[in-house]
């Protein structure tokens, strides 16, 4: 494994990443507060939670569009390309490392290099999150912001409820992703090294 430092996280990416992280937290807490609003106790006052959730959602959309364009027009997109041939095999190899190899101090099967920032499991999860779940949560979020665009009734159920169900389920999966993502960031040279990298840009 090369010991030389790699500059993997350009400034735009770091700003986008931390903005995204902050917005995620705001959206998770306000979203939970709305979903489990109660008369006796509420995490954040309902009307404040609605406003914060709406504002954070709109900024997240702008941030997402920025990411898609920045990724499209910089070399960063190369890290997200999945080569289908042998991908399952590579996934299993990484899975084996996380569930067994890491405990017996095996070297990581896909070490970080200038050409490879993500291991196969990271690549798959990031592609799913950024190019599938983010569009779903953004589209359903806007449909809830402008409820008149929803179908009034779908097989006897209010269309807006189905939209919300999709929004909430996707939000839950993204929240779980965030927790797992934070845990996997402790897999650097030291527990904190990956977190530092996302501030300095150097891996």
């Amino acid at each position: 494994m090369s010991e030389e430092k790699l500059y993997l996280y350009p400034l735009w990416l770091r700003i986008w990443h931390w903005t995204n992280a902050f917005l995620f937290l705001v959206l998770i807490f306000t979203g939970l507060s709305l979903q489990y609003a109660g008369i006796e106790s509420t995490l954040i006052r309902f009307d404040i939670a609605v406003s914060l959730h709406n504002i954070a959602g709109i900024i997240l959309t702008i941030s997402f569009v920025f990411f898609v364009f920045a990724n499209r027009f910089t070399s960063n997109s190369n890290y997200y390309r999945i080569k289908r041939k042998g991908f399952i095999k590579r996934l299993l190899k990484q899975f084996r490392y996380y569930t067994y190899g890491v405990f017996i101090h095996e070297p990581t099967p896909f070490p970080v290099s200038q050409k490879r920032k993500f291991n196969p499991l990271q690549k798959l999860s990031y592609v799913m999150v950024m190019y599938l779940m983010m569009p779903v949560i953004i589209i359903t979020g806007f449909a809830l912001l402008f409820p008149e665009v929803n179908l009034e009734n779908v097989f006897g159920i209010a269309g807006i409820y189905l939209t919300d169900l999709l929004h909430i389920v996707t939000g839950f999966v993204l929240s779980v992703f965030m927790i797992v993502h934070i845990y996997f960031c402790t897999f650097g040279k030291t527990v904190w090294s990956n977190f530092k990298s996302m501030f300095t840009g150097w891996h």
Binding site: L34, Q35, Y36, A37, G38, I39, T42, F46, D47, V50, Y98, V102, F103, I104, H105, P147, E148, N153, G156, I157, A158, I160, Y161, D164, L165, I168, V169, F172, V176, I179, V180, Y183, T186
Partner: protein
């Protein structure tokens, strides 16, 4: 051959539709309008914008305009709750003379309780309780006795909606229309007060998604005191007491279940696990509609993720 098959299929569908349509018609009881003939005496003039009369002094027929406030829409009347009433049940028989005797204008009009009070037929509707609640409301305490039931419930057109109409949106529109008939119409509003009615759009400017709220809840949801023993709340509260906390509706124990959805609510959670499922057929309220099983599954998944991470981190720490 194929054409024949299609012909057979189309014939079958047409017949099926005919049977279903017939069955539906059969289900509706045909109304016999006992007083339609008698009422025609009144409706022939009061059902139109203009009326004719013969002036004996001038020996000629005249056409005149009907006072717009005295026009009765016969279609509305015959589909209202009072559809099978004679006009003379409530109005003096002397009105059958024309020109109507001037002193009839001073004749006291009957109130709802004059007929419905102590009526065992409508015991479940507890008219006396409604009156009790109404007497406590701002409509009664802030105004003179001129504010009667008919200010809101026009006896010539009013029909019960909440209990008989499955389409909640129609009920909402109908019931809100009653409030707006005064609160958005200065002419009717000033029948009992001298000042200009406040603009409801401005007084409700604080309400997020204003139009959406007004399409999905009735004014009385926030402006009337809800009581379990009342079918429909009639105690309209002073504006300071109106519901303003979002969570009163946007929570599991939404007050809407005791008011707007009172007739749809059978139980808090139905077999598919939806809390307040009655609302879901028509609308969706953040905070009030949750699914028990989805809640449970999400908690289990979240718990498992935390446990697996905990175990993984512990083993990593031990094997360091």
């Amino acid at each position: 051959m194929i054409a024949n098959k299609y012909l057979l299929l189309i014939s079958f569908l047409v017949c099926s539709y005919g049977i279903v349509a017939y069955a539906q018609d059969e289900g509706e009881e045909e109304r016999v309008y006992d007083y339609a003939g008698e009422n025609h005496q009144c409706i022939k003039c009061h059902g139109h914008k203009t009326f004719h009369y013969y002036n004996e002094n001038l020996d000629r027929e005249f056409r005149d305009r009907m006072n717009p406030y005295f026009i009765i829409d016969s279609v509305e009347y015959y589909s209202s709750n009072h559809w099978n009433f004679s006009c003379f049940d409530c109005h003096s028989y002397d009105y059958s003379n024309f020109p109507h005797p001037a002193e009839l204008r001073l004749e006291p009009k009957p109130g709802c309780l004059d007929c419905h009070g102590g009526d065992d037929t409508y015991e479940d509707r507890s008219w006396e309780r409604i009156d009790e609640e109404f007497q406590k409301s701002v409509h009664s305490t802030k105004h003179s006795e001129d504010f009667t039931c008919s200010m809101c419930h026009n006896p010539h057109s009013y029909k019960i909606n909440a209990r008989t109409n499955d389409n909640i949106k129609q009920t909402i529109q109908y019931d809100n229309g009653i409030c707006l008939s005064c609160h958005a119409d200065i002419n009717k509003y000033q029948l009992i007060v001298d000042f200009v009615n406040p603009n409801v759009l401005e007084t409700h400017a604080w309400l997020p998604n204003q139009a959406l709220h007004w399409q999905n809840v009735r004014c009385i949801e926030c402006h009337a005191e809800i009581k379990e023993d009342m079918l429909i709340a009639h105690n309209i509260q002073p504006k300071e007491k109106a519901v303003k906390r979002c969570v009163e509706c946007h929570s599991e124990n939404s007050i809407l279940l005791a008011s707007l959805y009172k007739y749809q609510v059978k139980e808090n959670r139905n077999k598919l696990g939806f809390f307040n499922a009655a609302i879901l057929n028509n609308s969706y309220i953040i905070g009030a509609n949750r699914n028990y099983y989805l809640n449970l599954i999400s908690l289990v998944i979240f718990g498992m993720v935390v446990i697996v991470i905990g175990i993984h981190a512990t083993i990593r720490f031990i094997r360091k």
